[in-house]
Amino acid sequence: MKNFESSTEYKPVIGFEIHVQLATKSKMFSPAANNPDEKVPNTNIDEIVTGQPGTLPVANKEAIRLSALVGLALNCEIDEWSKFDRKHYFYPDLPKGYQISQFDQPIAKEGFLEVNVNGKMKRFGVTRAHLEEDAGKNVHPEGLPYSLVDYNRAGCALLEIVTEPDLESGEDAKSFLTELRNIIRYLGASSCDMEKGTMRVEPNISVRKPGETTLPKYKVEVKNINSIKFAQAAIDYEIARQIEILKEDGMPKQVTMGWNEKTNSTVEQRSKEEANDYRYFPDPDLPPMHFSPEYLQNLKNHMPELPAQKRKRFKEEFNLPDADVENLISWKELAAYFECVVSEIDNWILEAGNHKGAEARLGLIKNAANWSLGEFSALLNQKLLNPDEAKVDPENFAEMLMLIAEGKISSSAAKQVFKVMFEKGGEPDNIVKDLGLEQTSDEGAILTAIEKVIGANEKAVLDFKAGQEKSFGFLVGQTMKELKGKGNPQVINELLRKKLQS
């Protein structure tokens, strides 16, 4: 536990309990499918999931590997020995009357995460991460005297991450949760989709009075939070609410609150009438887990690049603005796609010879980032696709950027081309031809057009010569029109000015 300095201000104390549903194919202790998208109730069940008499759990190796991986990425200690315990309570969504969880020997413990909060690096402690099985879902039809139970989610592998009470604001929470989610996604350990419930966050919030040095005697837990934005809002709301109470010399109740996204406020939920006694004991059905130094070393050796490393590299290698870097990092698949586009750009530069230079490369990369975060992201979001599911491949993506850079198509034409690439696939130069969008830089053709325009617009020519720069724009536009929009604007500009000044 961290020592708090005394302060003259109200100081929020926030910790998190975060549940992450691991992205395994099968459940934690049974071979039934793990499918968070399943709509038909009680589909992914079997005799083990429904806790039929005599059935036994067998642990999923991949879930254990992913847990250890997350532990390592969160700078945790992974003890050599770990085990499963039974946690007992009665609830309709818990088929065996106990949840297989971990009590005193979690897979990972005592780690931390370093997070950039508005430009300032902060370190938040991770108390532990333990593996357990999820419960099913209860459905409560309104106004009816019964509830319905669906065991599709029951038995799915769940990693519970508990943090130290090191956070102090909604802003901290937002940065922390975003970074944590990125890390877990980068590891391929979970989809961390808060709306679908594959990531569930429950902050514990309390506030210390000015001058207090110890942790407050109460804490308020907030549930029903299904986005990072709401987590931030709920925390800020709670802090304000609690400070109000403290200012009036009151003491906030230790309760569980729910976040109401319609009213943007927290609402007290039914407080639990009695403290539970979970009667933990080691599950005799499951032999212990042993993590050898070789096993852990192997995990470390195959650890994918994490967001912090990628962030650093994107800045150093690509010289991109911070906002671009953050936006790319936050979408793991897009960042990966972007890198593929960059390597296509590099290939092209290599083939084209060194004369293009570093500056041209960085320009192309900046363009790649712009297109990835702009047009591409917009289209992907529209279709709810991930970049690797899109029809446009990185090679064609890069080729389109080259066509723009070489002046073969205009930016506005490129938008049309890209839309076709996105919808149907195909190579950009073919699409350009099909749509008749190729840009001409042929000086002869452009000159012919210019001469025609000058002949037909004497007044404008005179105005320009009299110093009206505005007329130049008009003449460029007319020339472009004459060329049916395909003229290279740079070339037009150059030749027109030369012609008028001659």
Partner: protein
């Protein structure tokens, strides 16, 4: 022709020689069950149709070319703790009165693959909680040697059915004596495997760190065959051992010359019946005559075994019985007005006294404030007991001792005595805690201490042989050798 006293090995020869068909044999045993089980009450469910179907399939297999598996066409009964897909499985509890499992226990699956013929499910103490079958929701089974007496338990239905000649063998399970004690009391042979030798999958759990599915049969030779079939690592049970399964039956040897056999002095406890002690010592002399080297050994922590068990077993029971809530299967109270009552009334109505007692005891010792003092402490003393066995097995190859301090007692004595089982099984529990393999086999007859024997001979006495972990072969060899030289296993009650 009479078949009820023949071993599986003997019946196998008759089926292979086509002296009779599996259907004929199955009908023979079904009609005995029909006629005699009214007296013995050893079955909870008889599945005549399923049995005749399996027998017909077995006959088809026998009539096709090739060797027949050992169990092919042989009728058997299964303790009603083994889940049998499509055949009612109750654990002798009202809470599962109409439960039809959607799955097979791994053991049942293996027997099915060998074309074994399931004729029914045998009675037991409710959820195997007991040593007499008196806690069964379907009434106690009777000891075929004296119908006023208990057959022992919890596998009492299986041993009673076997002793009464209603089946040639039966499955059984043991947590702390539930195979050895009833085998002893009914005068049959029983095998309690090394923990992890036989898959627990689909066997309704009692004490998960102790439960061992096993079998009872007329001879140790049969048990060696059954062990071969039932054993092995199971991908559905993470506590099954990875050790390959030896060919126990092929390796059987009646030469025990030079084998070091220990007789633990702490196993001849105060209150043990004189005849039990004498018959066991007769057997020890017999083994010595056959060339075994007998020595007395010291197991001073034996007396703590039942105490440790009295904590660990109810703890695991209280946990394993949490799932019976009337939501997914089993008894749902019709009186429940809300969800809390669904739990409290379904469980209150469904569980019998002994189950409730164990659940409450287990709940108590696992509660936060008591966990260290009871559960943790018990698991440490368990280590002491395990270590003690390991030490002893450095100097001997096996241990022999009585399976029960007494012959069968009268029905009615066990029911409301919360310590009955812990005392009845004090000679079996320590080796259960250590996960060791053992057999019990008949070694003579003794007069009960109440003096009211049904005949001049008295009631069966059981000899127990305990081996080191995974040491089934030694245990079977000693039993096999002993049964080659004696015929106690060939004595049958007249029901």
């Amino acid at each position: 022709m009479q078949f009820e006293h023949l071993s599986i090995t003997e019946l196998r020869k008759k089926l292979d020689a086509k002296e009779l068909s599996s259907v004929e044999l199955t009908k023979y045993f079904l009609s005995r069950i029909n006629e005699l089980d009214k007296k013995v009450n050893s079955f909870v469910t008889v599945c005549e149709n399923e049995a005749l179907n399996s027998a017909t399939k077995a006959d088809e297999f026998i009539n096709s070319p090739g060797e027949n598996p050992f169990l092919c066409g042989i009728p058997y009964a299964s303790k009603d703790l083994f889940c049998t897909k499509g055949v009612r499985t109750t654990a002798s509890s009202k809470i599962l009165d109409s439960y039809i499992p959607p799955h097979n226990a791994t053991v049942e699956k293996k027997i099915k693959e060998h074309y074994g013929v399931l004729v029914g499910k045998t009675n037991l103490d409710e959820f195997a909680h007991g040593s007499s079958t008196e806690t069964s929701a379907y009434g106690p089974s009777k000891n075929p040697w004296d119908l006023n007496r208990i057959p022992g338990g919890s596998s009492g239905g299986s041993t009673a059915a076997l002793a009464a000649g209603l089946v040639p063998w039966a499955t059984a399970t043991e947590t702390g004596g539930s195979i050895r004690q009833p085998a002893s009391l009914c005068g049959v042979s029983g095998w309690k495997p090394t923990y992890g030798r036989v898959s627990r999958y689909g066997v309704i759990a009692m004490g998960s760190s102790l439960d061992c599915p096993g079998a009872v049969a007329h001879t140790v030779e049969d048990l060696a065959h059954l062990a071969e079939i039932m054993s092995g690592q199971d991908e559905k049970d993470s506590t099954t051992g990875v050790q390959p399964v030896p060919q126990y039956s092929k390796n059987l040897s009646s030469n025990i010359s030079g084998l070091r056999i220990g007789v633990p002095k702490q196993y001849f406890v105060e209150g043990m019946e004189e005849d039990v002690k004498n018959r066991v010592m007769d057997a020890v002399k017999q083994l010595e005559k056959m060339g075994a080297k007998i020595s007395e050994v010291d197991l001073p922590n034996t007396r703590f075994g039942s105490l440790v068990y009295a904590i660990i077993c109810p703890s695991e029971v209280s946990s394993n019985l949490m799932r019976y809530d009337g939501i997914r299967y089993g008894h749902l109270s019709q009186q429940a007005k809300n969800l809390l009552e669904v739990y409290e009334k379904s469980r209150g109505e469904g569980f019998g006294s002994e189950a409730k007692r164990r659940i409450l005891t287990g709940t108590y010792v696992l509660t936060a404030g008591y966990y260290d003092a009871y559960y943790k402490k018990a698991q440490k003393v368990r280590r002491l007991i395990m270590n003690e066995f390991s030490e002893v097995f450095k100097n001997v190859d096996a241990l022999v001792c009585p399976s029960s301090p007494n012959v069968a007692v009268k029905i009615g004595g066990a029911k409301e005595n919360p310590l009955f089982g812990y005392i009845a099984d004090q000679l079996n529990i320590p080796s259960s805690l250590a996960g060791l393999p053992a057999i019990s086999m008949p070694c003579g007859f003794g007069m009960p201490s109440d003096g009211e024997a049904p005949s001049m001979d008295g009631l069966p006495v059981g000899l127990q042989v305990i081996g080191p972990q995974w040491g089934e072969q030694t245990v079977f060899n000693i039993g096999y050798a002993y049964q080659q030289e004696t015929d106690w296993h060939r004595k049958y009650p007249g029901v």
